[in-house]
Amino acid sequence: MSATPQDLPGQPVAEQRSGASRKAAETEAEYGHLVKSEYEHGFVTEIESDTLPPGLDESVIATISRRKGEPQWMLDWRLAAYAKWLEMPTPQWAAVHYAPIDFQAISYFSAPKKKELKSLDEVDPVLLETYEKLGIPIEEQKALAGVAVDAVFDSVSVATTFREKLAEAGVIFCSISEAVQEYPELVQKYIGSVVPPTDNFYAGLNSAVFTDGTFVYVPKHTRCPMELSTYFRINEAKTGQFERTLIVADEGSYVSYLEGCTAPQRDENQLHAAVVELIAMDNAEIKYSTVQNWYPGDEEGRGGIYNFVTKRGDCRGANSKISWTQVETGSAITWKYPSCILRGDHSVGEFYSVAVTKGRQQADTGTKMIHLGKHTRSTIVSKGISAQHGIQSYRGLVRIAGKAEGARNHTQCDSLLIGDKCAANTFPYIEVKNPTAKMEHEATTSKISDDQLFYCRSRGLSEEDAVSMIVNGFCKEVFNELPMEFAVEAQKLLSISLEGAVG
């Protein structure tokens, strides 16, 4: 592993965050003229602008809450989260390196603001090339790259039919902000019940300042009539910096949710810290699929996204099931562990993942399966692909609690290396407190062999096609879990992201 914090070009930021109180003091000095006056007026003052100045304190949070028209309990919740966050240390153990993030240099309300470029000429040509290959229309390219668009390309009619159908079924699908206003009792009941604000540093930060995200509620014995995708949530099509997603599947219901998009997304906000909470009641099932392709930065990693996400599903009811499927090819730095808490007896947790790191990308991902209920089962299939200087770590925790009679886990963790400058690490953590548990763990590391490449080429396939075919074959078990259309896109995405990664 050659990367050190110094040679990782990140945002040029201030020194290590060494204590919130000191930072807060500094901030007061720097932004005092803006912040001071608000303090004096308590939490009611609003800043007369679309964007809050950089910095974070209670008045900023109050302003966010007020702007969103939130009830008092929501503000109190945010402030409590903030108070705890101030006391939390930043996580140091993830096997990634990056320059420390200056949390006071971030503006917490402009998110998800995109810097408007005047034309596509100002966009990284590599990014444009990828759009071409994905066949994205020119107007959509502009929107994705953050160029001012003349024509709005969303299709209102599609979205409307979509909403009507959902309403018929009684499914609630809206932005989290809307939900706080329209369905406060549901939100209040479930928010933070899976990922409490004290869970970790980034979850704490998110709880204090989240401004975007999705809320889904599927009523009892209802099968959601279609795959839900943020794409259709036109009023909040952009991805925010601090998203909060909450999905509740009530007894006997089913929902499949698709997150992300295959087009590489640019965002001026380098730090992304989302929280996703899933709750499945008795006999309910939630399938959560992600295809994420954040801008990884240029060849040196400049401008790439830092993606620190907390995703957790709670199989709260008996016989409930939650599956995470993810295909990740983007970000400069990814740090995420979609997890399942198997609380209900006979509940099932699944994690299927493909992660690609190339260039200077670093990923520290994995999952946690916490078996609490009896006869709970979990499956982990992780496929990691590293090319060029990519560094990838898989970190998986399987914990079988003392009362989890007859629990089972199967873990399969495969790494594929392309070239000899990349690296893959595997860190399995297993804690078994019940002797009846059955655990299986398989791990492999392989390389694409010269024999395989020659075999394909001797049949007329180019080297790149050969690599993408072999890689797609390697990932098959995971792609099989994705909804059909998403799987096709994911394959295409993988091929594109590995172009030029060989040799």
Binding site: F454, R459, G473, C475, E477
Partner: protein, 250 residues
């Protein structure tokens, strides 16, 4: 069709091919025999463009083109096909998908329209019938878990589908039971045509009972040391290679 002149090739600085000459005309079937380690597979690999071999002298032209300056995939698209002595496994890559990609790569190269899934399946069915193969292998990943014989049959099936101009069969008969040998030989024979040439590498006269060669060559110590008609194979079967090696050394 294929003209090899004074070909010398090294692997890791070790010279394996030491001035090899070979002329293959259109529609001809040439058998290449020779002791283990004499360079038969090396020849096959050099012809199909495998990396790791350095050609130090000589030339290879294929239909008038300098073969040695082309990538393996380009040679394949031009009509060269190698049936591997040891077919390679591609885990997770569906056999049908692989074949379709290969065929379409070739069609693209020649500016032809790619086949869609339906027409491809139709074509595949046709070829299966000709070769008396069943389709069970086509749903599985390429060569993964195939028996030795199945792998070889799969190679022949690929050949039938890709319709090469020059097919090099590297010990396609090794490891086949009698019935499979028949199937493979019938397949090869059904593909014989005035436009298609074949280079059949084998250790056994038996295969040549089924696939009648126009010429038989003996490759030893990196050279073709004797060429003849199909009766040469019979002679080799009886007497082994010793006498030719002795004569060549003399």
């Amino acid at each position: 069709m294929l003209s090899v002149k004074g070909l010398k090739a090294t692997v890791d600085d070790k010279e394996i091919l030491k001035g090899l000459d070979l002329e293959v005309g259109a529609g001809e079937v040439h058998a290449i025999m020779g002791p283990n380690g004499s360079g038969k597979s090396t020849l096959a690999h050099v012809l199909s463009g495998r990396e790791g071999y350095t050609v130090t002298a000589g030339s290879v032209t294929f239909e008038g083109r300098d073969l040695l300056e082309l990538d393996p995939e380009e040679r394949a698209c031009l009509g060269l096909f190698l049936a591997f002595q040891y077919p390679v496994e591609l885990p997770g890559v569906n056999n049908t998908y692989f074949l379709k990609a290969a065929l379409n790569a070739k069609r693209r190269y020649h500016g032809e329209e790619e086949l869609d899934a339906v027409s491809f399946l139709r074509l595949m069915k046709e070829k299966l019938k000709v070769l008396h193969l069943d389709d069970s292998l086509l749903k599985r990943p390429v060569n993964v878990g195939f028996s030795g014989g199945e792998k070889k049959r799969n190679e022949i099936f690929q050949m039938a589908l890709l319709e090469p101009k020059l097919a090099i069969l590297d010990e396609t008969d090794s490891g086949l039971d009698i019935d499979a040998l028949r199937v493979v030989a019938d397949g090869v024979n059904s593909l014989r045509s005035p436009e298609r040439s074949m280079l059949v590498v084998t250790h056994y006269q038996r295969l040549l009972d089924y696939i009648e060669p126009d010429y038989v060559h003996v490759l030893a110590r990196g050279r073709i040391i004797r060429s003849g008609g199909k009766e040469l194979a019979l002679e080799l079967e009886q007497k082994g290679y010793g006498w030719i090696l002795d004569e060549a050394a003399a």
